[in-house]
Amino acid sequence: MPPSPSADVLRGTLDLLILKTLSPQPMHGWAIAQRLEQVTAEALQIGQGSLYPALQRLEEKGWVESDWRVTEQNRRAKYYELTGAGRRALGEETRQWQRYVAMVELVLRTS
């Protein structure tokens, strides 16, 4: 598999998507993956595996917290939850993203 040239962009985007997904409620990794797939109608081609490094990155930045809970099927799973800093970051990242999109949009339209 050739390495994606936009890996960094994708990585940043993925962080934002995860934060957004987690904002209503705590979720475990698989649930996040399912939710992202549903929302993007499977258009976003990311390996589910890359979710976990991203989660770890976010946890190490202090934006999410994790703890082990029991699922409805009585199975141990690791749940992730936004922290206060995470919420602030989501707001900030969202604004940045929108500015970025708007800017790209502008460029695309004018040229």
Binding site: W30, Y52, P53, K61
Partner: protein, 884 residues
Amino acid sequence: MGWLKRWRTRLAPVARPEHTDAELAEEIAFHLEQETAKFIRAGLAPDEAARRARMAFGTVDRFRGEVHDARTLAWLATLGRDLRYAVRGMGHRPGFVLAILLTLALSIGASVAMFATSRALFFQPLPFAQAERLHMLYETNPEFGWTDAQAAPANVLDWRERVRAFEDVGAYLEFENRATYVQDGEPHLLKVAAVTGNFFDILGARPLLGRGFRWEETWRGASNVAVLSHARWTATFASDTAIIGRSVRFGDTMVEIVGVMPRGFAFPFGGTDLWMPMGWAAEDRAQVWFRRAHFVRPIAKLAAGITAAQADAAFQVEVARLRQEFPETNRVMGAGMMPLRGFLVRTLRTPVLILAGAVAVLLLLACANVANLALLRALGRQHEIALRSALGAGRARIVSMLLIEHAVLALLGAALGVAVAWVALRLLGFSEFGVPAATAVAFDSRVGLFALVAAVGCALSFSAAPVLLALRQGRDAQLQGSERGAAGGKRNARLIGGLVALEVALALVLVVGAGLMAKTALRLRRVDVGFRSEQVLAVELTVPASRYPALPQVTAFYDRLLAELEARPGIVRAGTVANLPLAGPGWSSQFRAEGWPADRAGLNILHRRADLGYFEALGTPLVRGRHLAPSDRADAPPAVVINETFAREFFPDEDPIGRRIAYDRVATANSTWREIVGIVRDQAQVSPAEPARAEVFESRAQDVGRNMWVVLRTDQTPMSVLPSVREVLRALDPLLPIATVRTLDEVRAASMARENTVLGLLTAFGGLAVVLAAVGVYAVAAQSVRQRTREIGIRIALGASSGDVLRLVLIRGVAFVALGLAAGLALTLVATRALDSLLYGVESTDTGTIAAVAALLLVVGVVACWIPARWATRLDPVRALKLE
């Protein structure tokens, strides 16, 4: 704030790697379970569902790889895991690991031993104060062909007083004296070094107890003093500190012990028990012989701030002056100086350099061999590596995994190698080389460091090929699994073949070297040395002047001793001689023959006292005239026997028998004239390789000699008559100790020690080289069979005979061997030139040896190919075709 967070993130996994890994594993397991369940619900079979789940996930290992790559410091944790993996992996392949460890242990061991030895000889500081200021002085004489001769004491004393650039000049006798010490009625023989009074001061050697000598003590008349070695003080005087100041009887004289040297001080000889002053008479200084006889080794300490060149210039001025002042003795006498260490090791440089070169070749060969084995193993692990790289293990990870594995192997090999070196040096000690006692071989941190560097160097060099291979695979073999690309296979085969050719080439060099030395040793053994050494025992005795004051007593003692010895069973013939043949020349002088013109003189003839029994015990035939006879006694005219070289050199066209000679350049009224009564066959004096020099034998009954070797021809193992010798001696003189006991076979072997040591080591290296090369060839042939199983299967299926298949495999393997031999031949012609100075009776380009060795290696190569080729002929074509 970014950097702080980054560092915390990087450090975290190091702090708790196990925890993180375990949690991750569980999290991923949960994820895959959920995903699988989802696919099952969608109606897939459980197997397929699990596969799809894994596909959707990407891969577990790739995911892990990303996590680890993200945290650079995590390499510590990774290293631990790779080490465990490497060690565990070794347990699964004991044969492979053993082969590599053995190869490395032997080759690194040899290098470490050579390193330790070379360092001790050439680099480690001598254990003397300001050793860089110490220079050996020597005399030269173009007429006699002297290049670094011992000096005449009168000259040394003049140098000491006149050359300002020398702070001091001292001297020692190169010949070890003997002194008898009687303890509880048992005579012990001590080895004595005779030195000038300033000897210890010049070396800056302080005694452990008491004092050293004073300059005045060089001369007779001052009290008799001696300094004990630490070993003798411990062994014989029970480390008694009250020994200082006590008078002890050594032989005939009472000697006051004034000092004890510290442990480890061993100069100029290894086993010296006692240092005593020269004891020259003050009036000797004015005697002509004191300037004519060259028998001391002078050491100068340069004055502070003077360079060697300045000192030498000042020295030469005085040497020239002495030449004019004393034309009778110094007419053509020159002198020179050399740093003390350089002097001590001057004869060792060539053999040690040769062996160091051989060891380097061996190490290179070992690396090539290990690289070869590692490469083959890497090929065997192709699938594993391809899988790992497909699972996303980065190139760095795969390379570091290989390197770690090899580093572990190399370090283990080096550790074993140090042990091998330690044992080898204990066993060999290079003592046969006559390594100077002052340069003890030390095993210290530097040697350890060398072993470490060698290990790392080896690991890197034999990792290069497998790493290249792994990188290439990482690039172009993505789980194509068993489908080995034809191009890649060919490249690998070429790489392995190249390594094999290199191994064969290096092996050729080493084995040809060993072969040339073997031929030399064989030639030396076959040289007619002028006597038969087998079954001859030699016993060294020194009769003291106190009980044997003059010639009649000495003669009577030896006459009785020999008669009683010959009466003993097992002893066929007994005789005496002042120096054994092949043990170095005795004293030398000039001479003139009666009737020669005044300006004619014979130079540099050797002397030995002997008797009829000596020649008969050794079986040295008389050529003409008569042997020395029992009748050549003090009351008869002096008679001498000369060797053939003497006759040829000085009496080429006349009959020497009946001519009279005197040991003076210019005869005076005091000259003693001796009649030549016979000519005997030449006896080699130094080594079988050196032609005999002109030599004259005097009768022991006409010249007093207190130090003699009793030689005994036996009709059994020579050592078995030793008890008889001791009995006879005890009966004749219970206080007379035996100084040395040697068989003449030993003496003969010792005269070829240098050649034999080099031969022994080169043979060992060569043998190892052949084994390594054979393993290499075998491995490459086996690999080629494995790789071409399918092709061979097809050929067999199409009707190829087993002969065809054999040929197919053999030709490839043998082609690499032949390539190696061709390259090795060129290398050999250059490399063996280094051996030139050690060879005897054989050229370094000896066609016979080179051809024989090349043939041997070719045979070894063919056999090594033949074994895997046999497998190929037994292939079942059906299975072979299915296999791939």
